[in-house]
Symmetry: D4
Subunit: 249 residues, 8 copies
């Protein structure tokens, strides 16, 4: 509710077009209405590509079906279910023909309309094959959110030539997501090559002194390359959210 | 060196306009020349505002004066010395009249030309007064890099109304930097209010279970708000680098 | 044994109403009798609502049935079995018709008399849906202990308006229990809104840098809001104990 | 602004007692006004004893004098400066004759009116002599906030009889604050003796595997005694805030 | 081989009672023979009660049967298999009628001769029922090693009177083993009551901030009671070894 | 591509023996060709024994069979599959008669030609029987890479004579790999006895304060013996790589 | 107060030799009197050698002088001031001619009577020269407590022969204290050589991955040698307390 | 003492050329004599370049002068004092004209004979200028130990071209030492480029999530490049020891 609307309402009260009681009803929720206005604004942005998202772990198939069913009625956009296992996918595909299961990314999309494709490109770079599930989580999420996505996988720094021979791909990106486990050094090297924003996703790939992703996390946070933003371990989804916001500025 | 330039050089060799020896000289460095090309590109971007940066800790005043003196000859841009103490500032101001000392931010700028001002705005939000030095490090760095910067300080979540009454300022920003110590909850709250990219800077402000910034760092990494990129503890400079890259896309 | 009883006993010895041997028997255990007196006092307080509690993990169904059977004879109050799985509930309900299983809270109550309802209210606030099991553990425990309990769930700080639009609920509470995982920021925000005592329960909800609840735990301990008491990770039961003691002062 | 006030304002608009413009002015800030109302409410509670608080570390003497001077004009209550060193105390006492320096607690009080004394008593229990500064920080803070405070110091569990011979003191308290470093076992023992709310303050007293208070902190969080609320390491001030809120319910 | 034996051997060489070659054979292994002598000495002590020990985890039933079978031939003492699950016990009892399975302690003893009983007594004290398996591991091990063992279980500090009413049991012990999880405070309290050597065993009993026994471990290491020796988390066996050595001095 | 080859190519361009277009093709990839040259060099070294390596965890049997099948065509050397479980071994042995499964080491070798045997010897020393799987991973890997390997197992420092009586074996080695869990002290003792390079492999063998290998890792890194290089916890494969490089210098 | 004394008192009440009021006075403190009885017993043991102990850090010289002065009047035994710096020693020696300063051990003894010498011997073994201050803290403390002490310093495991050539010294000890920093491996080796109780003291000697003594602490706790009791980092005093209790059994 | 010498001695006993007493003297120390023989062997290797080493921290200038003075008499080789501050250097240079102070490396060499120069070369690579002190500690130590040393400094991965343009230097090395702080990624990149043994030295350079070198340490241990041996944080000296052993094989 902006100043004009507020003035308008008060004028109506003054003119007795609106009773005091009705005005009180509208005004008493002003604090959060204002915020819901922000939310509406947010929704607007979302309608242009941002999916409804359901985080699968800890929910029964029945619960997920219920939420999706509700969303099918309430909304018109695409629906994204993250961290979904095979059985959830099977149940959804049986019920909704538009459901697509991205196995590696563990993402189900109930695709009700084509994805937008942005002009700017998000490049998802990953270090080893074991990092691909998280990389794909980021890539698919970004695509469903309406971004054009490039992929550059298996270019870990132990064979730096693999990365360097793809500088042309790197130069096409507007934003980069770097996904790496173990020591996470790829983020530093990519951050040194490009002058575009880099979002780093440490993965829990590794063992021993990796301590479930801690080595990659600390490595990315203390990177000698400036201008790297780090998200939580294995958080491909979060990286895509941030990259999408940047890409669609 | 792009394909055209390469073809051109080889044509010159074929036509004997360039000797084989001269061509060898130019070509033998191709690997890193290509990379220096990237660097040149980087420099181009930098010339439009990005300062030369000297990290002060661990360097003697004599060394810093030496580096600055060298830069004064080699470059024309502004020079930024970060984490600089009072005595460094004094020495620089004695020698260079253009030197400005931002005490709280511990930044010296040898200002040889006016800063650019970008259309997009970076908003620096900070939680407590003790976080201001890091917030100012981010803000001044972003300004020297040619960004228009807004500040919103002392809006920690323990008094949430302080933040909420400034939603209009928040809505003006293209990118936000959130600086907070202790539990770092401000990043989550801001991340929930805005749909713009948020860069979170945990600070070492606090004591006990803060463990030198660990509590804020972990809190920001596991934020319930999506799309937050985290930098190292107290790394206002790094946050400004990332924000500037995003702001100038 | 208070001073009067002690005087009385000694008078009896003096008058030879009690033999020295009998008196020695009674007095030699004085140290712990005194403490048991404290315990009796404690029991008195407990009789007014506090349940007998059995911590289920690590006990066989047979052992739990045995303990409950023993309690049914020895006591008259309600019996609470915490962290109980489905199979334990089934076995108890077969044997005791009064047994109620709160599935989410994983609590079984063998309800032998109605719960008391206190004048003061305990409000249990939780951040995300995944925190609800711990929130319910706290809420049900508090109810069985004779407290009036209010619930305010799914009001995480990433959507601060959800919390703010319920300020009237918050203002009804005498004590608040805030249950949150991930970064646990909800405790700080609630602590800043209310001037009532806040008990914070970090949960292990999250992944990666959450480190099994460490991020929420450290965040709550270093909260910028004063006057927050923190209990162990996932310890909804302990929070209810403390809240109940405060509520019934 | 409650419903009645809102209705009243609108009635005035309807009756043209208030212009639409003036009403807009008042209403457009409703969101945070509501929150400031809460703050006013908070202030009310504070006026009955709660001091204005200045956290001294990181502030210059000049800054502290400035803030105090400002408070002297704006407020009428007592002013508490925490973690204040000798030189700060000296400067304040020179300027304000009412300033009292509690050296061990590192607290300065500019005492402009007598402290309230509550009916309920807060008991501060501490383990070793080295814990006394934090214990005193809690005790003095609680006193300035208008609470009657009892002290029971140097009753660490290595000599359990010292604690047990003071059970009568323990039984007088409405709320207890337990301050202990090293392994922090005192909190568990006190928590087992009393049925009143216990707030535990781990201190950084100790060395080696104490890891700056970590051993006491973890010990208190995992206490086998139920109903203990833990605050940050060395946070005597925070414990007093929580205890005061409980004591004055 | 002591000096006398060495002189004797050389005398024999001098007198040609032993050839140089034979002497060389005996002398060339002197370094480790000396150590094996120590080992023989050790064996002597062991024969008077110390069992042969097999650590079960990671070994197949077949492997354990093989080792026991081998020991049955090579030795005459009792055989102790630690951390043994039900199925291992079943297999051993089928083959050896002397095999006894202590289920809680997860210890199998192939009892070929009665245990010695020492004059000095080892008292095993445990905090909660969940600590009993580790307490029993210590107690049974100590018994098999020929020590008289007293048990005092479920005397956690949250109910300090349970411990204090058993001071007479405590005073009978020559050495004490204190087994406790959670915050491990029992070690400090017992260490303050007795002037005998105390061996503390932290257990992994607990959850959350217990961090798999870390809270109890740190608590015991930083105990305010002097003269406590700590062993590894859950290491009842190791505590019994140390207690037995002390008890049989 | 070295200077001579570069000169040669340019001469051919000059003489028109090579067209400019062909030269451009060759030169535009110079950056990584140079690196691939390094790779060729690397391959050369590998052909003399270094196996192709497949890390098994996280790959399906089908994927592994696919990679091996591809390698069988592309290469002629031996193929090593590490961390392979029983079922993978079975599948490979069914398809390839040359497949050998080293169960303890969890290594499958598809042995297409005999291993080289180096003059220098690598000695693998291990502390306890539980460390043998990692020790064998190192030993077998080193053998497949063409090294002569000696083994010295079960010589943990708790029985130092076992190690000392094998000094002659130790003195035969050119490089030593020391594999130890628990406190990892064996690395220090071996490092003090030999003057050859020692590579230490901490293992996750242990429990409690071992914290999944952390105790051995920290112990080896802070060893009082100089000149020890440490690899990741349980990384027998990596130790063999380093030892092999040293052994074949 | 034992049973006989209690009977005696009651008899006196019966005979009216003691009034009921006086008896109540004596009996009402029974809980802690009983405990003080234990304390008297403790004192008795202490009088035969155990010193009064003052922990110096955090106390001013004035405070220490005050405590010593008080002790000089109240007690007759030796007084030990631990962790005392040079200036404290100087002040004490000026006032008390019997004061002796052990500089390395940072211990002052006000020696008022000769130390007892026990039959059993405590051997203090240390790894490096940097560990000697803690080793001496243990040795001197043990001596003042009336034990015969042997020293074996600088026998770290990197030169195992230094230790082995002193097996005869090791065999003379009844109890051993092993003091080692860095990886703390000495405890394991000594624990494997002797069958006497071993008390291990990790020291903070080292840097980097030593993490202030953590590496030695974890190493000693997870030692492959059984029967080692570990005390806090740098806690030579605590080790001496435990060793003394064992030695004087 | 080898078999021949032993036979010889015994023959002499038999022939009475040596008395039994003298033989006993020689033989009773056989265990460690054998080990000292190893030490002599070690010494032999050392005489060809390995310096006597004194670790300076924690020693007074007087103590260091004493040790050096003693060494000057006992030995003829070069003497290396590590981690030496300015004042130590000054004192040594005053007394010994041959003393050289390497300020950055904090190493003093009392150079009594020229260093050997090995055929194989050790390359010391460092990431940033702040890592140079540790890199120089490694380089100087290696030189004093008789190795030819190459240096490649300031080639951190944020500017990967700096490293790649020096591939020819890298290819000259027989062993490489990589010194890097922050995230330590340089070790992975260098390890991927070379097939020579790589020794990685994490440094404590960095702040925040660097946690005093932990991020670099974990990064290097979990490197995706195989065959990297890691030493302690800031341990340039240890890296040089290992590199020297490898280089001189």
């Amino acid at each position: 509710m902006n100043r004009d609307e507020l003035t308008d309402l008060l004028e109506k009260v003054r003119k007795a077009d609106v009773t005091v009681d009705d005005a009180v009803e509208q005004l008493k929720t002003l604090p959060y209405k204002d915020l819901q206005y922000a939310k509406v604004d947010y929704h607007r942005e979302l309608r242009s590509g941002f999916p409804e998202v359901i985080y699968s772990p800890g929910k029964t198939i029945q619960q997920i079906l219920g939420i999706v069913s509700d969303m099918m009625e309430r909304t018109t956009g695409n629906i994204l279910i993250s961290r979904a296992e095979e059985d959830v996918a099977k149940a959804l595909k049986e019920k909704y023909s538009q459901a697509i299961y991205h196995r590696q990314a563990r993402i189900i999309v109930v695709k009700r309309k084509p994805y937008e494709t942005s002009e700017g490109k998000i490049l998802v770079v990953s270090a080893g094959t074991a990092d691909i599930p998280i990389a794909e989580e980021a890539a698919i999420t970004a695509e469903v959110m309406g971004n054009s996505v490039l992929r550059l996988y298996d270019v870990g720094v132990a064979g730096i030539h693999r990365l360097l021979s793809n500088i042309d791909v790197i130069s096409q990106a507007k934003v980069l997501i770097v996904v790496a486990g173990m020591e996470g050094a790829l983020a530093s090297v990519v951050g040194g090559i490009t002058d575009k924003p880099v979002i780093a996703v440490p993965t829990s790939v590794g063992y021993g002194a990796n301590f479930s992703g801690l080595s990659a996390l600390l490595g990315m946070l203390t990177s000698c390359a400036n201008g790297i933003g780090v998200v939580n371990i294995d958080n491909g989804y979060g990286a895509a959210c941030l990259a999408s916001k940047i890409n669609q500025l």
